[in-house]
C-alpha cells in the first residue's frame, strides 16, 4: 500500500497544468415518487406533492404510522428496493441505454437496503444492474458523503473532465427508504409528522423519500462521442465539513459558506439557488446564515427554493436529483416553487419562492446546495450559455 501511495504522490507532483475545458451536462434525468422526466417536471412546476402515509406504503411494518413519506410505487414491502428502483430507472430512460459508452461510471448512495447480502453495499446492486442491462463497463467507485453523496459525485466527475483526465463520465445516484431505514429515522426524530415544510416558520423535520438520478458530464469531445449537444455547463464546485457534530450542522453556517464561495467563484451571484432545505429547524437556519455570510444583503433577493416538500429527501441520491431539477430550471427558464412552504420564518431572511409560485423568468446561472450527516456541505454551480 505504501508504494501505491508513493506512486500517487508522484502523479500529483507531475500533474499541474491549467485547463480551460468546458464541462457540459450531456444528459440529466431523475426518478422520484412524483415520476420521472417530463411528467416529473410538469408535476414539480405545478407544485404537486408525492407523499403517502407510511401506513399505506408499509402496512405490515407501520400499520398505525401516518407520517408521510415519498416512496416509489409498486415495490412491495418485502422486496429489495435498490434493485427495483434501478430497474425502474432503466425502464423509464433515467439510466440511458448507452451509459457504457462513457469513459467512467461513478456512483453515489448512502447505505442502500438494510437487509440481504448487499446490506450497506449498494455499489454491488448498481454493478449487478448495469451488467443486467448489458453495460460492459464496471462502476469505478461509490462516493459516500451521506446526503451530499450525489452532489459530490457530480462535482468530482466535473473536476476530472475539467482537468482533462476524462472526456465523458456518467454519474449515477440511487437510494431507498425501506421499512428498516424509516424505523431508524423515526427513532432519530428526523421526520416531520405533517411533511417537510422547508424554511417555514412551522417546520419540524424533513420527509424522506427514495429514487435515483443519472447525469452525464462531458467536454466537447465527449459530447461528440455520444452525438449530443448541450448549452448547460458546470461552472464550479465546493466542499467543506463543519467537523462539529455527526448529525447537527454548525449553527452559523461558516463552513457551508466556504463551500458556496468556492462553487460560485466564477459565476458570482447566481440567478437562483436550490437549497438543501431539509425542513429541519437547525439545517434551514444554518443554510440561511451561510448565504448571508457569502452574499451579504444580496442573499435577501436571490430567489431560492427547495424540493423536499414535493419529492422528499432522497438521502444519498438527494444531491444529484436536486442538481437535475436545477438543470431543468435553467433549461426551461422556470423558477420552481417550494412545496410545503407557506409562511417564511422571520429569522430566515431569504427570498423563498412559495408553493405554487413557479414562474417563467430569465435564468442564466443556478446553484444547488446539499448538506449531510457528518457536517458535510457541497455546492455545485451551473450556467446556461
Amino acid at each position: 500500500m505504501c508504494s501505491n501511495l508513493s506512486l500517487f504522490f508522484n502523479l500529483i507532483k507531475s500533474a499541474i497544468h491549467m485547463s480551460d475545458n468546458k464541462v457540459y451536462v450531456a444528459f440529466a434525468n431523475v426518478l422520484t415518487c412524483l415520476g420521472d422526466g417530463l411528467a416529473l417536471q410538469e408535476r414539480l412546476f405545478k407544485g404537486m406533492c408525492g407523499f403517502s402515509p407510511a401506513s399505506t406504503c408499509f402496512p405490515e411494518s407501520f400499520p398505525d404510522e401516518n407520517t408521510p413519506i415519498g416512496v416509489i410505487k409498486d415495490i412491495s414491502e418485502s422486496e429489495y428496493r435498490i434493485p427495483n428502483i434501478l430497474k425502474k430507472m432503466s425502464a423509464t430512460g433515467v439510466i440511458p441505454s448507452w451509459i457504457g459508452q462513457c469513459d467512467h461510471i461513478f456512483s453515489a448512495s448512502s447505505l442502500g437496503d438494510l437487509k440481504g447480502k448487499n446490506a450497506g453495499r449498494p455499489i454491488n446492486d448498481i454493478e449487478a444492474h448495469l451488467s443486467q442491462i448489458g453495460c460492459e463497463k464496471n462502476v469505478d467507485l461509490l462516493v459516500s458523503s451521506a446526503c451530499s453523496s450525489g452532489t459530490d459525485v457530480l462535482g468530482q466527475a466535473y473536476a476530472m473532465v475539467k482537468s482533462g483526465a476524462a472526456n465523458i463520465i456518467a454519474v449515477l445516484a440511487v437510494d431507498c427508504l425501506d421499512p428498516a431505514k424509516l424505523r431508524q429515522h423515526l427513532a432519530l426524530g428526523t421526520q416531520s409528522p405533517e411533511g417537510a415544510m422547508p424554511l417555514d416558520t412551522k417546520r419540524n423535520g424533513t420527509t424522506f423519500g427514495e429514487g435515483g438520478a443519472c447525469v452525464v458530464v462531458a467536454n466537447s469531445r465527449g459530447l461528440s462521442q455520444i452525438g449530443e449537444t448541450s448549452d448547460i455547463t458546470i461552472r464550479g464546485f465546493g466542499m467543506s465539513c463543519d467537523a462539529s457534530d455527526i448529525t447537527a450542522p454548525a449553527e452559523h453556517g461558516q463552513f457551508l459558506a466556504k463551500a458556496i464561495s468556492k462553487a460560485t467563484a466564477s459565476v458570482g451571484t447566481p440567478d437562483f439557488i436550490n437549497l438543501h432545505g431539509s425542513g429541519t429547524p437547525l439545517s434551514d437556519a444554518a443554510e440561511a446564515a451561510a448565504l448571508t455570510l457569502v452574499f451579504a444583503e444580496r442573499a435577501h433577493d436571490i430567489p431560492v427554493n427547495g424540493t423536499k416538500g414535493a419529492v422528499g429527501h432522497l438521502l444519498g441520491a438527494a444531491g444529484l436529483a436536486e442538481a437535475v431539477i436545477s438543470i431543468w430550471a435553467l433549461k426551461n427558464q422556470m423558477l420552481l416553487g417550494t412545496v410545503g412552504h407557506s409562511e417564511l420564518d422571520p429569522l430566515i431572511p431569504l427570498n423563498v419562492i412559495g408553493a405554487g409560485a413557479s414562474a417563467e423568468t430569465t435564468l442564466r446561472s443556478g446553484l444547488s446546495i446539499t448538506c449531510g450527516f457528518g457536517g458535510v456541505n457541497s455546492c455545485i454551480a451551473f450556467e446556461r450559455e
Binding site: F9, K13, S145, M160, S240, C241
Partner: protein, 164 residues
C-alpha cells in the same frame, strides 16, 4: 503541486481498537475502523511533528466500510428495533467524518467505497489529482482503511498542495 507527503501505517486487532481519547467530549460512538483511522493519523502526526491546516480535506478509500456498525444495524432491522446510534454512524463516509471531527479539519470530508477491481484505485487517484489541479482541494489527508480478517489495517498519507 504537492510539496510534502508523509505517510504512516497501522495494523490493530478489532478488539483492541477503542475510541481515541481525542474524541472525548465529542462523539465516541464510532465504528472501530473509524477509531483506527484516527489513531493512524495521530501516529502520522507524532512521527512527523506536522500541524494539519484547518483547510485539510479528509479523503478515505475503503473496500469494507463500517462493517461492525452495519452488522448491528442489519441485526436490529431483522428484529424491528431502532439502533439509531449505529445507523447514523454506519455509512462509510463516517471514516472521513470522524477524522475531520477529531482533528478539527474543515476541508472536504468523504469516502470512496471501491471494489476489488485494481483499476478503481487508479481512478480514485486521478479524481483526487483532478480535484487538486482544479483547486477544489488544497491539503489532503488520504487514508486507506479496511477490515482484514480480525484486524483493522489503515494507512494515512498527508499531501500538501502549493497553489500556483
Amino acid at each position: 503541486m504537492m510539496e510534502q507527503s508523509i505517510s504512516s501505517r497501522l495494523k490493530i486487532s478489532i478488539a483492541d481498537c477503542k475510541p481515541p481519547a481525542r474524541l472525548k467530549g465529542k462523539d465516541v460512538r464510532c465504528d472501530p475502523l473509524a477509531s483506527a483511522s484516527i489513531r493512524c493519523v495521530e501516529r502520522l502526526l507524532s512521527e512527523s511533528s506536522l500541524m494539519l491546516p484547518e483547510t485539510t480535506s479528509v479523503v478515505v478509500i475503503t473496500k469494507t466500510g463500517c462493517v461492525s456498525h452495519i452488522n448491528k444495524v442489519v441485526e436490529a432491522a431483522q428484529q424491528s428495533r431502532p439502533r439509531q446510534g449505529f445507523f447514523s454512524r454506519g455509512g462509510p463516509q463516517m471514516l472521513a467524518n470522524y477524522c475531520s471531527i477529531a482533528f478539527d479539519l474543515h476541508g472536504a470530508s468523504y469516502t470512496y467505497f471501491i471494489q476489488q477491481n485494481p483499476d478503481s484505485r487508479t481512478v480514485v487517484e486521478n479524481i483526487v489529482n483532478s480535484l487538486v489541479k482544479e483547486k477544489i482541494l488544497e491539503q489532503v489527508l488520504l487514508i486507506e482503511a479496511d477490515y482484514v480478517g480480525d484486524e483493522l489495517v489503515v494507512e494515512a498519507m498527508y499531501l500538501d498542495s502549493c497553489l500556483l
